[in-house]
């Protein structure tokens, strides 16, 4: 009854050459029983993307709370939030619940609008930030994701190669996790466009 693995799910983000990618599975389960095969775990806040795995109820709460915060930020500052700033926002927001945490493992991916630098980060449920120059993972398949990332990722991947890499990473990790899978969403983010692709995967 670990709250992080009741509903299941997987998420991964990667840095490429002037691009980033973020991908998630689509399963929503209740222990071993699958409830839905259309439960995306990636949310966009302007040009910054957030992946959330963990307890489904907290995925919903955290994503909508952050939606409110980012919308308020946008109105106040009259500009989009940068990935780095968003990361700090997520961190401080999660830490406010230090002694009654949201059971989620967030992942952030985006490109800094000013510098054009790709950016990814991940957190634990208390908001401790893990900055990374290569890849970050979260969810019930995080062990498998780390393994496939370590063997498939390489520096300087172009957008299309990055898509292929992150897709294979997610697909092969999900196949070894009973709590994740059932389809996937992949976002490839470059400075001037975002491509969202839906992956059909095995439905078992």
């Amino acid at each position: 009854m670990d709250p992080f693995s009741i509903n299941g799910g997987a998420c991964v983000a990667m840095v490429g050459k002037n691009c980033v990618a973020i991908a998630c599975d689509l399963r929503l389960g209740k222990q071993t029983l699958t409830i839905s095969n259309n439960y995306p775990k990636i949310f966009s806040y302007g040009d910054t993307y957030l992946g959330l795995t963990g307890l489904a109820t907290d995925i919903e709460t955290v994503s909508t709370d952050l939606r409110t915060k980012v919308n308020m930020y946008r109105l106040r500052e009259e500009r989009d939030i940068e990935p780095e700033t968003f990361t700090n926002l997520v961190s401080s927001y999660l830490y406010q619940r230090r002694f009654g945490p949201f059971y989620v493992s967030p992942v952030v991916a985006g490109i800094n609008n000013r510098t054009g630098e790709p950016f990814i980060a991940a957190f634990d449920c208390l908001g401790c930030t893990d900055y990374s120059k290569d890849f970050v993972v979260s969810g019930t398949s995080s062990n498998q994701l780390f393994g496939t990332c370590e063997s498939l990722w390489e520096p300087g991947l172009e957008p299309e190669d990055l898509f292929e890499t992150i897709s294979q990473v997610l697909l092969n990790s999900m196949d070894r996790d009973a709590l994740a899978g059932w389809g996937a969403h992949v976002y490839i983010i470059t400075k001037d466009q975002v491509i969202k692709r839906l992956l059909k995967t095995r439905q078992d």
Binding site: I6, L28, L33, I35, S36, A56, T57, E60, G100
Partner: protein, 180 residues
């Protein structure tokens, strides 16, 4: 144990909520403590009806709005001193977009919009039947046929007598009780 306990609530003209709590007559028992599933259902019902009254009955809450409201209340309760322990299905007809919708919510306040859903033991008996027979564009008649299959399966396989079922149908014209 009560045999004829209707565990549904009509929230507005096009929205129906079905709920199940802990097994047995806990609804009656917890009523005296003031925080049973019946209280939650009544609270939701009252608030959705209040919304309708405030807009001078010109506009009812859409199924998606109802389900979001229920989720927020359930999520609030989840981290309170004494959380509600109930699972919900919310069926509704979105009259604006002319679409029927079904929402699944569990006691953790996880919510999802689904083509078909079940709670409790029924999940293990019915979901595979629904997986096999449900298609995105079936009509009401076909839907009722699949429902009949599900209930027959429950009757046959469940090691207990659940003393019949309540069946309610939500369409564009409203909510009807079905003889079963």
């Amino acid at each position: 144990m009560k045999a004829e306990d209707d565990k549904t609530r009509i929230l507005n003209d096009h929205c129906l909520m079905a709920y199940s709590g802990e097994a047995g007559d806990t609804g009656m028992l917890t009523r005296s403590f003031g925080r049973g599933k019946v209280q939650f259902a009544e609270f939701i019902q009252a608030n959705v009806q209040l919304y309708g009254m405030r807009s001078n009955c010109t506009q009812a809450l859409s199924p998606s709005s109802v389900s979001s409201f229920v989720r927020t209340e359930l999520a609030k309760s989840l981290r309170s001193r004494k959380p509600y322990n109930l699972n919900l299905l919310i069926g509704g007809y979105d009259t604006v977009n002319d679409k029927p919708e079904l929402y699944w919510l569990d006691f953790l306040a996880a919510k999802d919009k689904l083509p078909y859903a079940a709670h409790g033991y029924a999940q293990y008996y019915c979901l595979s039947i629904l997986d096999k027979h449900h298609h995105p564009n079936i009509d009401l008649e076909q839907g009722l046929k699949i429902l009949r299959m599900c209930i027959e399966e429950l009757d046959r396989r469940m090691p207990m007598n659940f003393k019949g079922v309540n069946v309610k149908v939500i369409t564009k014209t409203g909510i009807q009780d079905l003889e079963y």
